[in-house]
């Protein structure tokens, strides 16, 4: 069968247009069997309707004369005028259809558009998937659909809805009239949704904000690269760890210096205590402070501190602190 549903609709429209001067009720009577008849004609052999039945206007003239059309049954005048206008509009559409065809390289614009139908089915499936995405997530119109935040599920949804749309496209002519009307309404919704989505996306693309959403609620610490803890005496505390009220470690910044402590490879550099880079401390008393009066700690405390940690972990930090603040001093309390 080479005759399409569209061709039948067009043919009927042109026949009706040619009978536009008749009273509407009478014209409806004359043409009520026409779509079914054309479907039968289309089913019996190949060729276009015009080839088989002649031009719709000629068909209309034959119908009119065979029916002896001169009846003047009722029909409200406004209704009649509306129908006449609708038919004139349809006839004009048909003329445009034919006129626009040759520039496109086809007999009619409709023929060209019919070729694009499968492409429209795919687009329709995509739009349906996007509609589901926007409705379920309440988010904005992006490029890919997603389901419950999962892009993979979104792609499955996309494939499913595209296939369903193609199937529906193939089966549309077999649908009953109410179902077809429903389909038309759904299509209109999708078109409006798609246009609105594209306009929205375009606006966001122009403003440079392409759907990027800040994850952290408070961005004040985004610029932090390292953390330096000072005790009440203004001394840098090394190997500090920060925890929140739940005992979860607070991770800020990222080590951007090479740390000899980590050279033996303790894995994730983010697991290192603060500061990551003690030598970059903003207020560090960098030059070893002139050794304060330290009565009982003789010249170099290293040996004692190195030996003591296991024995007296609490006492040693104080000892080291008072002893030296040398940056290179290895920390004695690596308890963590």
């Amino acid at each position: 069968m080479t005759v399409t549903e569209q061709e039948i609709t067009d043919y009927v429209a042109r026949v009706r247009a040619a009978l536009a001067d008749l009273p509407p009720a009478y014209r409806d009577e004359l043409t009520e069997d026409l779509p079914e008849h054309l479907a039968e004609v289309a089913a019996e052999a190949d060729g276009t309707l015009v080839e088989r039945l002649g031009e719709p206007e000629a068909y209309a003239a034959e119908l009119r004369s065979a029916a002896g059309a001169a009846a003047t049954t009722g029909g409200r005048r406004a209704d009649r005028r509306f129908r006449a206008t609708a038919d004139r509009f349809r006839a004009r559409l048909h003329r445009w259809d034919v006129q626009l065809g040759p520039p496109l390289g086809y007999a009619s614009a409709g023929e060209f558009l019919r070729l694009l139908r499968p492409a429209w089915w795919m687009l329709r499936g995509y739009l349906a998937a996007m509609l589901v995405t926007v409705l379920t997530t309440g988010g904005t119109f992006g490029l890919l659909p997603s389901l419950n935040g999962s892009t993979l599920a979104g792609l499955v949804l996309l494939a499913g809805s595209v296939l369903a749309s193609i199937w529906l496209g193939h089966h549309t002519p077999g649908l009953s009239r109410p179902k077809r009307r429903l389909l038309r309404v759904g299509t209109a919704v999708l078109v409006v949704f798609g246009l609105a989505g594209v306009v929205d996306m375009d606006g966001r693309a122009r403003s440079g904000d392409f759907g990027y959403e800040q994850i952290s609620i408070d961005g004040r610490y985004d610029h932090v690269r390292d953390v330096f803890v000072y005790d009440s005496a203004g001394r840098l505390v090394e190997n500090a760890r920060l925890f929140d009220q739940n005992g979860d470690p607070i991770r800020l910044g990222y080590p951007d210096c090479l740390d000899e402590r980590d050279l033996n490879g303790s894995g994730n550099p983010l697991l290192r205590p603060y500061p990551y880079c003690p030598q970059q401390a903003p207020y560090a008393p960098r030059p070893p402070a002139a050794t304060p009066p330290a009565p009982n700690v003789p010249p170099l405390p290293e040996p004692t501190t190195a030996a003591s940690p296991a024995a007296t972990p609490t006492a040693t930090p104080a000892a080291t602190a008072t002893g030296t603040l040398a940056p290179a001093q290895p920390s004695p309390t690596r308890t963590g």
Partner: protein, 124 residues
């Protein structure tokens, strides 16, 4: 009756067949409906099978409408399992009456025409 149509069809093709059809289409449609009710496309097919190959689709539909409007046919709708519902036409009493009268008229007319042609030495 179909023999007559056939004779008509072959012997006057050089004349305007559609003109002749116009005159007898009412009768042809009534005759086709005498045996069995039918819907538009079905009636058209029966007419063509009977030899009226040049009958126009629109002419048949128009004729059905006119005969219905004249009260010679009744219609009823039959749901079809595949596709849309079909409007069936059937002869009512007035239609059958009309068929009988028109049929007689046609036969006498055809006989006259045959005799006329025979007199002039033309084989049917």
């Amino acid at each position: 009756m179909s023999l007559h149509y056939f004779a008509l069809h072959t012997s006057v093709q050089c004349v305007d067949t559609t003109q002749l059809l116009k005159g007898v289409l009412d009768l042809a449609v009534l005759a086709v409906l005498r045996e069995e009710d039918g819907y538009g496309y079905d009636i058209l097919r029966r007419l063509r099978e009977a030899g009226l190959e040049e009958v126009g689709d629109a002419s048949v539909y128009g004729t059905l409408r006119r005969l219905f409007a004249a009260g010679l046919l009744t219609t009823y709708v039959v749901p079809s399992e595949a596709g849309p519902h079909r409007k069936y036409y059937s002869l009512n009493a007035a239609g059958r009456d009309q068929l009988t009268r028109s049929g007689k008229l046609w036969r006498s007319f055809a006989t006259t025409m045959d005799a006329l042609l025979d007199d002039r030495g033309m084989a049917a």
